[in-house]
Symmetry: C2
Subunit: 499 residues, 2 copies
């Protein structure tokens, strides 16, 4: 093969005279099999190959690299390319170069530790066949087509500034759509200036924690995750007893709580709505004491036997922080929620949120705005209400037939019910459930550790989570896990109340 | 108009005999003009209308409502509908009902306070004609079409479980795509188990704050927003001097810092890359002291005159937390970022993040995974590099011509440059800039208040933010705001260095 002088100078720099010397692999570089795979420039591929060789340990620390001219010959590429790659890797700290001693692999560039390369130990879960946790709606029912259509419209219609640094309250399109929807569907009285978009209830609560101080009253049954957010922020939680009419808000008078966190539309997890007198009483308390109601309206849209109960917030928008989200209505993976705040709190919450941080992505916010305004949200909710009501009916019918001694409560609304168990049987029922491959929680998990009232035995059954086709089998497994009837239960099942 | 008996009983309950009595408006209800507008059931519309009347103050507290039969006649709707609506509104606390005294507007249901209904006072900004803040890429260049295509593909391909309760580290599709991309483009050594998706750098830093303690070294020039996150979490910040080679990491030895936050690829805001020896020195420091480098790779993809400098993280993945995001490459409004963590930190960061919280929406995560894997991200970056390089060149050419006495630094990479100003002229230049309708920052805004080195006068010019068509005019305005040459500057401009 003939080379022009220029070419041979580029590819075989050690050649002397007019004919190029035969190309011999350099000694130092002979075991260095670099594959310039992938895309990008030759230099980028060479750099990746060198980094990879160092990472993997094939090129050990202090190893002397072939002179760049040699490597250029070996690889059939331009000298400058190799020289540049070496210089770049020196700058990045992979290689060291010293006058006279050539280019070496830097001592710092050790390979990934093998034991750590496996990554952290992850919690291993027992295999779950039937998921009856109350945390999620049916993931298979996410309205992908309608959401995609809204995203397409929203992205096409958005002003350019939507992709710039944004208002930390969230996109105005979404806040306006929420004001209209929340007034219409939930009786919330607010305006777009008082809405703050967040990543869901927990994010909103974290923000509020930075505005609150002292102690916060909570329901004696509730998510320990929410209690831990409050307590993690240095707030004390004080339990209020819960009965069939929701939290006993009259107990607030005996606390020094400056705020109370309630689930008025559908007490979580026991299931009843807050009684009308208590709705008024909690507002009276807030007005008299300068207190604040944190209203967690986590599944207020789902009520099966009549219209949903409106939000307490409407009674006094200046004393209530209303929290809503798409976590139950669409998907907890969307991470979209909102707060309707008293006007005097907005700036403080924005400051807690971070002046540059919207937190929720603009595409999802714009998409939800379109989804609400186009009526797709209402259509989706109607569809899901039908699905969940059918499941609720299937749950109660199955239990009436196969476990008539078990009382089911909290079934008028939401995506979960409570099976009341005989005293002292909850733990055994949970063990039996695990043996059946069921993932579900007992009531005791939700009980505030300082609750004054006696613990109730029960199972919390999320009937939203399983996919349609798997629900009947999940119920079969559940029936097998329930305790049998005691002597007291032998009265006819039809005489027992089902509320 | 004839009514059947059944109909008349429904609509005119007070009628006696076979012929309906003439319908007369009830006295109490005569001034209550309820419009059952909107969509939804008659009951829902009636409830909304009543809530609205109470909200607006048209129905004052203690006002007695017409008996439900009367209102049913007035509105020509079924009695039961009105009775149900009343009962529902009593339950929501809008109305009170007492045997014998009828249904009244509850005292608590006061209208929105007019002064508060205006919403909180928002900071008013001076009108900005030219935005040269360094915080945002060109919002008009967001790749809407390609993003929509990725979203459509990603939503169609996602498994159902993607819409359920999720891994707080983020979607595996995205974490795998990031591992491949970060290794290829940024020299990051990690695996999908060590990636944690977050809402951007600030969110990641907030999470790290819960794992760190004591003091954190920072660059003496940097975002005060980041310092305030650290200090807000109870961490002390210690400034390291910054020169043309980045932070003087040798000063770490004189601090008690357990971690150091750096911008190695492109010091923010002064603009130089961290020198190779300092890259190695900071890793040596971390190894010797058990310290941690927090590597903020905020715009590492944008380098114009040669290949980007790889991440320091690659030198020792067990001593570096690598932070990246789409805030400069795509849009700060996406709220998508990531951390590549040392393996031993992953569980702690997840705990700080909240075990149920992904924070970033699943749709954006899946979309970005597709965007990366399909090559759309690389195409977008190449396009933006061309655009920003052209703007950078336009900036330097304009200044060379019209303000040759002003030195421009930090121009090899990123979306901003620094104009070095004569001592003591920064504030005057900022005032002049405001008069020109320019929004930009002076260097002093970024200076750590406890920095030991003398303050520099300068302007930070973000050339990414303006839309294409407005950039030339923004530069014109900038030139008008710059201080004129001093006696020292009168040497020929060509003799002055431009690095």
């Amino acid at each position: 093969m003939e080379h022009s002088w220029v070419n041979s100078a580029e590819t075989t720099p050690r050649a002397s005279g007019h004919r190029p010397a035969p190309v011999e692999p350099s000694e130092e570089g002979s075991d260095l099999h670099l594959e310039l795979a992938g895309s990008g420039s030759v230099r980028a591929r060479l750099m990746n190959a060198l980094r990879e060789a160092i990472r993997s340990g094939r090129l050990a620390p202090d190893t002397r690299l072939p002179p760049y001219r040699t490597l250029a010959v070996d690889l059939g590429i331009a000298r400058n390319t190799v020289a540049d790659a070496y210089a770049e890797l020196v700058e990045e700290g992979w290689l060291t170069a010293r006058q006279g001693s050539g280019t070496k692999v830097a001592r710092r560039a050790t390979p990934l530790q093998p034991d750590q390369a496996r990554g952290p130990t992850r919690r291993t879960h027992r295999r779950v066949t039937h998921d009856l946790m109350p945390s999620s709606p049916d993931a298979a029912a996410f309205p992908r087509t309608a959401w995609t259509a809204s995203a397409r419209r929203a992205l096409a219609a958005a002003p350019n500034e939507a992709f710039g640094v944004a208002d930390p309250r969230g996109r105005p399109e979404l806040r306006h759509a929420l004001v209209e929807y929340l007034a219409r569907a939930r009786g919330v009285r607010t305006d777009a200036e008082r809405i703050v978009v967040c990543s869901g209830f927990a994010h909103g609560l974290r923000l509020l924690c930075q505005v609150l101080h002292g102690s916060v009253a909570v329901e004696s049954y509730g998510l320990d995750f929410h209690r831990s957010i409050l307590e993690g922020a240095g707030l004390e939680t004080v339990p209020l007893s819960v009965d069939a009419h929701g939290a006993r808000v009259e107990e607030l008078a005996t606390t020094r709580a400056g705020a109370v966190l309630l689930t008025p539309a559908h007490q979580f997890p026991t299931g009843g709505p807050l009684h009308a007198q208590r709705r008024i009483a909690v507002i009276d308390w807030a007005r008299a004491t300068g207190g604040l109601l944190l209203e967690d309206d986590y599944d207020g849209e789902f009520r099966y036997d009549r219209e949903p109960v409106g939000a307490v917030q409407g009674l006094d928008p200046d004393r209530v922080v209303y929290f809503g989200s798409t976590s139950k209505s669409l998907s907890p993976a969307l991470r979209l929620g909102w707060m309707a705040l008293p006007g005097w709190m907005v700036d403080r919450v924005i400051e807690a949120k971070g002046p540059r941080e919207m937190w929720s992505g603009v595409v999802d916010q714009l998409t939800l705005a379109d989804f609400l305004a186009s009526g797709a949200y209402d259509r989706h909710l109607r569809r899901m209400r039908r699905i969940y009501r059918r499941r609720r009916d299937q749950l109660t019918a199955t239990l009436a037939e196969r476990a008539p001694h078990i009382e089911v409560t909290g079934i008028a609304a939401g995506l979960h019910a409570v099976l009341e168990l005989p005293e002292g049987t909850e733990q055994a029922a949970l063990r039996a459930a695990r043996r059946q491959g069921l993932s579900l929680d007992g009531l005791s998990l939700y009980r505030h550790p300082r609750s004054a009232t006696a613990p109730r035995d029960g199972l919390v059954i999320g009937y939203g989570t399983p996919p349609e086709h798997a629900f009947a089998r999940a119920l079969d497994a559940l029936c097998l896990a329930l305790p049998g009837p005691t002597r007291d239960d032998e009265a006819p099942a039809t005489a027992r109340g089902r509320k």
